[in-house]
């Protein structure tokens, strides 16, 4: 009888303390959440401002002005552009030290690389995994 009574008192007290702690924990978390949310909004606003500034600093007229002042570049003309590799003249033959010209290497289209072969080990692994 008495033990039951003590057990109940103990349980009620325990529950009360637990609720108390939980409530404070939740309150703190909520404050933290609010802080984070306002921080996120502040950061988003800062990002927005930085984006606008980035865009402002990247105005084409400003970039053109900077390029004119600091870079040794000029507009591309049609003369310096080649339509394809085949439009280039043949390379000058290389002269070896013993004075004999090296026969020019047969030209192939250098823009297309041969497809790479898969190493056998990878193939074996993938086969094992698919089985």
């Amino acid at each position: 009888m008495r033990q039951t009574f003590l057990l109940w008192i103990f349980l009620i007290g325990g529950a009360g303390v637990a609720l108390f702690l939980l409530k404070y924990e939740v309150q703190e978390r909520e404050e933290q959440l609010a802080r984070l949310n306002s921080q996120i909004i502040r950061d988003q606003e800062a990002i927005q401002i930085l984006r606008a500034e980035w865009s402002y600093l990247n105005r084409p007229d400003r970039l053109a002005d900077l390029a004119r002042r600091y870079l040794d570049l000029e507009p591309v003309t049609a003369k310096v552009l080649a339509a394809s590799v085949s439009a280039l003249p043949d390379p000058i033959p290389v002269i070896t030290p013993d004075g004999l010209p090296v026969p020019p290497v047969a030209r192939s289209n250098p823009l297309i690389a041969a497809p790479m072969e898969k190493p056998q080990a990878i193939l074996a692994t993938s086969r094992r995994l698919s089985e």
Binding site: N37, Q48, A52, Y56, R59, K79
Partner: protein
């Protein structure tokens, strides 16, 4: 429990009599007492059963909520609050995602003059961090009796930081939203601007006001900011050289109708709209309607050739001016002889064009102009869309003047849209300022046959190679186009001094991808151009400049203009004959 309480009550009842032995658990009761207790027992049993059911339900629900259904707290608690900023006015971006317009939350500084302790010292300190406002101005503002006075609106974050660091009492910040256009005037006429309350009152800002207000995805335009800059710079250069009062330029994708660049000069800074010059605000590219002059001969030739009534190897006598009513139609670059159809185009003969139009007739011309959209309001996404000025009634004199671009006023964008249909295989597609999905070509309406379109391409190339448009020839990029010089209407007649010089071109003309238009308003000839201010001298070089700079950017590789496969596409294989003479000029070399 029940039993214990019953016992207690029994004990209590019998307590006064000590002789009675202690009660056992089974108390024998009699009469009405017994009945009452039985009733009580039954009631208690029912109540207990009810409570058991209720507690059972609570227990089941508890298990359901905590164990069965989401054992833990929801993981994302309240992140939605962080998206408040998205609900402000959405952005406008160009086709590559560069910002054209955005909304920023900015602090504004106000003061409560009653709370400022020492106005002179405060003003002194503030003036050091706020450029553009003097100490005296701040003192004057603080001298009022009110409790609220704006010191400065829309500060930068750095200024706010500096003011906070000064720590002067009586000054406060108010958050305000401000529409910012980082590109200043670069696309002012397309993007437009908003009023103080953030309502769009021009350009895309006005026509997409509802969409922008809802604060969703940014509105993406078809404009390319880089190209916009190139067009604007080229036009400005020309305007300065020829002391012109204005200019307009358009670059259109001939394949899907996207406007890649649209410039109207003079322009304005949409960040500062308080005192806008109406002339700068006026959109010459889409709202202004002009008699475009000889560039209209593109339509006249296409109409005549497509009708089948005029053939490419035909010709007309252009040796004498046409006199009709009180007008005389004569040629500017007069040859005073019989001209073949390509020659009429190449030398921009008004007499020849008028005669070609007469073959088609008034109804035919009216229907053709209507078909290519020259008689209706420009279908474009901004409110500044011009309505053409067409003659009514459409008489024979109108037929003749419209053939060389007088008597029918359209906006430069109308012209570009029409020329695009003439060279792209004959399909008229609506122009748009919004970016289309890559590969999504809108359905268009066929206005001329594929064959006529091919002939037009060859004719346009002829003008640049040998005719009035030689100054537009950007080497390697195969420009084809037509010049135009129109005298402006002033009062009841034409003003010989005030002209609109234009050039509309397409490149690469063997497979047109882009249409480029340059129009200069009232240019004045100079020494370099021998006093000329015609389309060929003023506008053609602008187009050449634009093409030269944009082609590498758009991955168009230069070609050898004399390569046989190129010549084949552009040669006009005809041998025109002058019926009045035998032989005649041979044009087959191009």
């Amino acid at each position: 429990m029940t039993r214990t309480r019953l016992n207690l009550r029994t004990v209590f009842k019998r307590a006064p009599n000590p002789d009675v032995p202690p009660p056992s658990h089974h108390v024998a009761l009699e009469g009405h007492v017994r009945n009452a207790i039985e009733t009580g027992r039954t009631r208690l049993v029912i109540a207990a059963a009810l409570f058991a059911v209720a507690f059972g339900a609570v227990g089941v629900r508890l298990a359901d909520v905590t164990v069965m259904n989401q054992g833990a707290e929801p993981r994302l608690a309240d992140a939605a609050r962080a998206t408040i900023i998205q609900s402000s006015r959405s952005e406008i971006i160009d086709r590559n995602g560069l910002l054209l317009a955005t909304s920023l939350h900015t602090p504004s500084l106000y003061a409560d003059p009653m709370a400022v302790l020492d106005p002179v010292e405060a003003a002194q300190k503030l003036a050091t961090v706020l450029p553009g406002i003097s100490e005296q101005e701040i003192i004057a503002k603080l001298a009022t009796e009110r409790r609220f006075v704006w010191i400065r609106r829309n500060l930068t974050p750095r200024q706010q930081f500096d003011i906070n660091r000064l720590g002067i009492p009586g000054f406060y910040f108010q958050r305000e939203e401000k529409r910012v256009y980082p590109q200043s005037g670069a696309a002012a006429h397309v993007v437009g601007y908003t009023d103080v309350d953030g309502r769009g009152i021009a350009g895309i800002e006005q026509s997409f006001d509802e969409v922008l207000r809802s604060g969703g995805q940014p509105v993406q335009l078809s404009l390319d900011l880089r190209l916009q800059h190139i067009v604007r710079e080229s036009l400005l250069e020309s305007m300065t050289e020829f002391q012109a009062i204005g200019a307009a330029g358009v670059v259109l994708d001939a394949r899907n109708g996207e406007v890649l660049a649209m410039v109207s000069l003079p322009d304005f800074d949409p960040n500062q709209t308080r005192s806008l010059d109406p002339d700068a605000q006026f959109n010459r590219a889409t709202l202004g309607v002009y008699e475009m002059g000889s560039t209209f001969k593109v339509f006249n030739h296409a109409m005549a050739l497509d009708s089948g009534k005029v053939r490419l190897n035909g010709g007309f006598d252009a040796s004498h001016p046409i006199r009709i009513a009180r007008f005389t139609i004569s040629d500017y670059h007069g040859k005073n002889r019989w001209l073949s159809v390509p020659e009429i185009f190449e030398h921009s003969s008004n007499i020849g064009s008028a005669k070609m139009a007469m073959e088609v007739g008034v109804t035919g011309q009216h229907d053709f102009m209507k078909k290519i959209g020259m008689l209706s309001r420009l279908p474009i996404e901004i409110p500044e869309a011009g309505v053409p000025l067409a003659p009514s009634p459409w008489r024979e004199i109108n037929l003749m003047t419209i053939s060389f671009g007088h008597g029918l006023s359209v906006s430069p964008m109308h012209l570009v849209s029409g020329v695009s249909a003439m060279v792209n295989g004959g399909i008229l597609r609506p122009v748009t300022l919004l970016k289309r999905e890559p590969g999504a070509t809108p359905p268009g309406a066929r206005v001329i046959s594929e064959r006529t379109s091919d002939q037009m391409r060859r004719l346009l190339r002829l003008v640049v190679e040998n005719g009035t448009g030689r100054n537009a020839s950007a080497e390697g990029y195969l420009v084809g186009g037509k010049t135009g010089t129109a005298e402006k209407l002033s009062g009841r007649g034409y003003n010989r001094k005030a002209r609109i010089s234009s050039f509309v071109g397409a490149f690469p003309i063997n497979d047109p991808k882009y249409i480029v238009l340059a129009m200069i308003d009232e240019p004045v000839g100079n020494k370099r151009t021998f006093g000329y201010a015609t389309g060929g001298w003023v506008a053609a070089p602008v187009v050449k400049n634009i093409v030269r700079r944009m082609a590498p950017m758009y991955g168009i590789s230069p070609v050898d203009e004399n390569a046989p496969e190129i010549r084949r596409d552009l040669v006009l294989d005809i041998a025109p004959r002058d019926p009045t003479k035998n032989g005649g000029k041979h044009l087959a070399s191009y």
